[in-house]
Amino acid sequence: MMGNKVAVVTFPGSNCDHDTVWALEQLDAEVVVVRHDARDLPACERVVLPGGFSYGDYLRAGALAAHAPIMDAVGRAVEREAVSVLGICNGFQILCERGILPGALWSNTSGEFVCRWEWVEVASPPAGWPEFSTGMRFRLPVAHGQGAFRVQEDGLAQIWAQGGPFLRYVDPTTSRSTGYSPNGSVDGIAGISRGRVIGLMPHPERAMHSVFGSVDGRRFLRMWLGGP
């Protein structure tokens, strides 16, 4: 099993960083917070890009953060396959803007921010995480204004050719993941992966206790950390 030192990156405007650190620490991960202007990552096995409105979401969500100094370091580490990266919400947007993950997150088709509970289903487990088995479901909250996943047609074809996206939204009325989304995502895609990099719009760090409505975030993060 890999070590569990996790770097959580804080950009100016990140606002889920505290929640993410708190969630990971509950799972006994060793967390170190890294600033946006750091040139290097500390010695760590994992990196989390948390949610928020980095740099005020100016230009496009994640567009400016994608060029922060720390992202050069993250990019290099990803190329060397030296770390696992998890981008949550704004973190997912940053990974797409950086080109580490394919596609982009557009404004929700409703034109409105949406905060609500959703079910997501594993359509295709990320490489290296057999624990995430196909069909596994998680109840997690979404909270975003720009969460409509879009990707060019060949990119989408490629995602499906490789087994499908990591996570898709589950339609609350039919209980099936056949393209429903709360935001207008193509094929109902809630999260994707490439190599050891994962991005998702829902917030696992907010589903750590039954009192908050679900413990599925705890389960999700524990599996991401390599636990059972």
Partner: protein, 726 residues
Amino acid sequence: MMTAQDVGLTEEEAVYVRELVGREPSDLEWGLFGVLWSEHCSYKSSRTRLRWLPKEGAAVVAGPGGNAGVVRLDDAVEVAFKVESHNHPSFVEPVQGAATGVGGIIRDVVAMGARPIALMDSLRFGSRSTAIREGVVRGIGDYGNAIGVPTVGGEVFYGPGYAKNPLVNVLCVGLRRPGREIGAGGARPGEDVYLIGQATGRDGIHGASLLASRDFSQADQDLRPTVQVGDPYTGKLLMEATLAALATGRVSALQDLGAAGLASASSELAVRSGVGLALDLDHVPCREARMTAYEIMLSETQERMLLVLDAVHGEEALAAIRSWGLVPKKIGTTTADGQYVLTLQGKRVAVLEAQWLVDGCPLKPAPAPRVAPPPVGTGSPPEPVSPQALVAMLADPDLRSREPIYRRYDSMIQTRTVWGPEHEVAVLRLKESPGGLAISVAGPGRWAAVDAYSGGAGAVALAVARLAVQAVQPLGLTDGLNAGNPDQPETLTAFSQMILGIRDAALALGVPVTGGNVSFHNETDAVAIWPTPIIGAVGRHPRPDRPWADVVTQAGMRIVLINPPTRPELGGSVWERRAGRLTAYPRVGLDRLRRTVGWLRQALLNDALGIEAVRAVAEGGLWLTLVKLLGLGGPGGAGIAVTLADEMLAERLLNEVVGQFVLTVDENHWPEVMAELSALQIDSSVLGRTVAEDGLGLTVGSGSEAFTWHWARGELLAAWSAWEGA
């Protein structure tokens, strides 16, 4: 040359200014007096009346007068909280007006050294003001979501007077550790004054003195440029930088810049600290070249904070601020001579005493605090009740589901929200303490429309009742008082009555008012709002991980109504308004309510009594309470079957008098519950049971005359969730 009238002062006030200063003030000095003596800044019509409110309480750490009230939750946590209005800007420019309202109250809480952890908003619109409503909701979301403070609840009501006078009152709650008292009062002579945040621009000049201090007419669309523009990104950096600076312990005093900008913040800080102030305006970072001293002092550019730093160790605080990417600028020093001196290009452009600006404005004297008798002829004849009319009522704008609004707000960020906006009271779990925090907000203007005293008392009663259903004792209240033009005698009389209602309820229920906000001049084209008291309440939740249910969970429980109505009291109710009338809201039985909430707080903690779910009756009466008790948000744990007498059916089902509570109680224990209530001389009656058959059944009358109406869950849900135009 500027005249007193140019800056909104009356002739009498101008004479008084000349007397104070002892010479003809300069244009800049007139401007300072104009803005600080405006209704919005001086509270000249309200201050003498606000003194009627009780402000002492065992838990009070900081009472009214500061940026926010502070109460002690327990040994580990203090709670700073206040409601503030941004009504006028939200009419002129809904998105920015509402956004800067959120930003402003967040800064107030930060200025008490507390980290903001929750927002609630009370909104009022005209029933057809869809564009204003949508803009306001967007503005609140844009700011709150981005700065990362969850919106955990709120309320929305409609009325004709709000069509051109929308109300946007925002409550912010923050936490700080005990022993971290900070505010505008800690500066000593010889310290450095710093300004941080946005560069000062020409936006919002006269926003407070003109926009919020006079009535509107159709011609006022030209006031749009006086609305400030919010930037939640800078707001977030400013919040973090300020909290980081405070953590160094090197900040002596701080004051956020809101209405009347630097003029208000600097003079307020000088007066509270009892120091003089010398500001060099050349050092104020400006967005535009050649801004005049007048513009610099009166600009209401958002996201700015004034800090006074220890002259020796201030560098530690400055480093903390810089780490957040902000550039602190020293703009002056505190002095021992008590003078308020502004300098521009080496020239002294204003030499005053800060006291004149902050406390010098002549106040309207208050009358003797006399409660007016309730209006006669109240209690309107009831409309006949039909099952169709009851269902149709669920879609009323004042009662229907608020989900289309609150789903646009992040209610979960900061991971404390156990109960969010889908409930009538917010329950937060604290990482800082084993105890939790409960927050409620209440204030239907309808209740104050005819009898402002009743409305004021009713708002306090409801805020307290909503905490009581979670066994929570309120530690303090904050009041957002909204009214029309205070120069109209009847408006001011109603305002006084509203305060007296709040006073009497607060005294009866043993809870202090620790701060709040007054917004007058909610009057456009001579149409004023109903006097509207918005009351926020906070208290310590004894078991935040297990809130008491507000929906039925299983069949076989008894449904008990506490304090069933004994008189025909439909005044101020939605049912009455739907029939095209509005009479006075009844006077709440405050002593009875005090005994009831006192009993509830200990009875809920006594597991042996078998109380499962509990709700306070309010708008929509017992009818909406039962519908909500069914749990429309989920699949439902059981159905409800109740029986009511035929006589006074409408009055029983639809009156909105606070003091009524609905409980579901274990089959074996309900007689015990009723005996306890009876021993305290609190009336109660068994309404019915929770049943296996889903839906809501209402049997009217008894014996052979009885008949039963039954509604399926889906039918009720469909009506309640109907939402036009969103």
